[in-house]
Symmetry: C2
């Protein structure tokens, strides 16, 4: 019984192999490209596996995503049908996302980009902004991360809203549900945070149509997946002033290529997919624990729903 | 009975006069330099009054500070003894300070200055930081604003500490008191927020000695008063690396002169005394309400203690 490990960076793969060997003594753990007997592989631990990687293992029982999303696993056109997928979620990931969302909502709320520009010009210019209870901020997607983010924003005093496909009650947060609730959710929403899972129905959801339903001058924060955003629509909305500022943590291609126009756009803050970065030590502990649970019970509380896409 | 109004900017003084006239119909409200009968002045509403301004009014019953601090009133060497001072505090001021402290602690916590530098260099460089529960942040001064700030930081998940002269219990915050507790408070404190009142005993408290008791590479946020900071000691501590970054909202001279070295220091974020900026509409309502209470009862819940200095 072998655990096959893959991450796009070879040195990271090796690092994860050694860490999992330390955490799962007695288990056979190997980098995916060094597997000698594919039929012995029952578990795979992966981030952005290559097309066909999983199909090589005829006895694969479970795939562990090194991250909360499973879109990077489902993206494999040759993915074997019916192999269950475990997500890696945990208090640390949720905590880090809360921090990121709070930081970037506050940055836009208090207009730090313009304040830093004033400093660069040695300009003692006080920017007057509404107090948080008069600022409407909305979170799209109310899973573990989105619900925690919305609660955190409410705790900071914001007029917090949340939207999800099927509806969810969160204390202190005004929630909206489904296609019918979307326009009301977006109306008046001055700072929008995207934390939706990436699925066929949410792909490209951050587009000109959606931006047009926000109030003029709204800010957008995307800390879910690059595939949610129609890049050209954002650039156009920033140029027209419909969107004032954006913070992007995720991109269609990562690392973001050096020639991508986002880097140098003064209305865009680029962060390198760090919103809820899994630190390897924490991720390793969570994954080792989940593999043990799965090996013993055949299931795990962090199981994803491949049909649903998250 | 006249209310004398003074702010350093003449147009602001006029604006406040008109606003208070609207809020206190029937009261005689006038700019301090347009008072014809000084003996009729019973109330003064001021921000940074000039030396001798208050001494001109022999029948002055109360001074209202347009702000939470009263140091700018006490700074007048000719201030008449025994005239009570009302502070202007309120939910909005506390809320704004919570936002400022949360924003700037999170900025330092997630190392946004370095992250923005990486963006400027089109460098996909993920900065690894501890998760907030493993980050010790401390608030000096646990009055209305400091206590709210410390509670907010705890709510965001930080390992939050607080220090005050006489000690205070705050849920979720480890508190320290008095001179004896200061070293333990500072030890290990990675991000320090100053919200002390400015008094003879706190003047210059942010100095080389204090910086040396913080862990190397700590960040400092001063959103109290410029007089708390020994400017040269901060510059030296930034140069030695003892302090990594600082955010300053308050300065010995405001507006900060264009030739001050703080403006262009890449390790310093300068904001123009906006942490808990009173917006005039809210401040006006608070002040009008307090003047009415004082006129009726001879006291007010927001009375400061001039002997204590805050």
């Amino acid at each position: 019984m072998t655990v096959a490990v893959y991450l796009p960076a070879q040195d990271k793969t090796q690092w994860w192999v050694e860490m999992l060997q330390g955490l799962l003594p007695g288990w056979d753990i190997a980098a995916i490209d060094e597997i000698e007997d594919p039929s012995a592989v029952k578990h795979a631990v992966v981030w952005r596996p290559r097309a066909g990687d999983m199909a090589r293992f005829p006895n694969l029982e479970v795939i562990v995503s090194i991250g909360a999303g499973i879109d990077h696993v489902l993206a494999d056109p040759e993915l074997p049908k019916g192999v269950p997928i475990i997500r890696t979620v945990g208090d640390d990931l949720t905590q880090r996302m809360r921090e990121y969302v709070a930081l970037h909502v506050l940055r836009h709320h208090r207009d730090m980009p313009r304040q830093l520009q004033a400093q660069a010009e040695k300009d003692w210019h006080a920017i007057v902004v509404p107090v948080a209870p008069n600022r409407v901020v909305g979170v799209m997607g109310l899973g573990n991360l989105g619900a925690a983010a919305a609660k955190t924003l409410a705790g900071l005093g914001f007029a917090a809203r949340g939207w999800s496909k099927s509806g969810k009650d969160i204390e202190g947060v005004e929630t909206f549900a489904g296609a019918d609730g979307m326009d009301a959710f977006l109306s008046g929403c001055e700072i929008l945070v995207n934390l939706l899972p990436l699925t066929d129905s949410t792909k490209g959801i951050l587009n000109a149509d959606l931006f047009g339903k926000l109030p003029k001058g709204a800010c957008v924060i995307n800390c879910a997946r690059g595939g949610h955003l129609v890049d050209g629509d954002l650039i156009a909305a920033l140029e027209s002033g419909q969107i004032k500022q954006a913070t992007l943590d995720v991109f269609h291609q990562e690392p973001l290529p050096a020639d991508n126009a986002f880097w140098a756009n003064s209305a865009i803050t680029v962060t390198p997919h760090v919103a809820s970065q899994i630190d390897a030590a924490t991720g390793g502990r969570l994954i080792a624990a989940n593999l043990k649970i799965f090996a013993e019970t055949g299931t795990c509380p962090d199981m994803a729903d491949a049909a649903r896409g998250y």
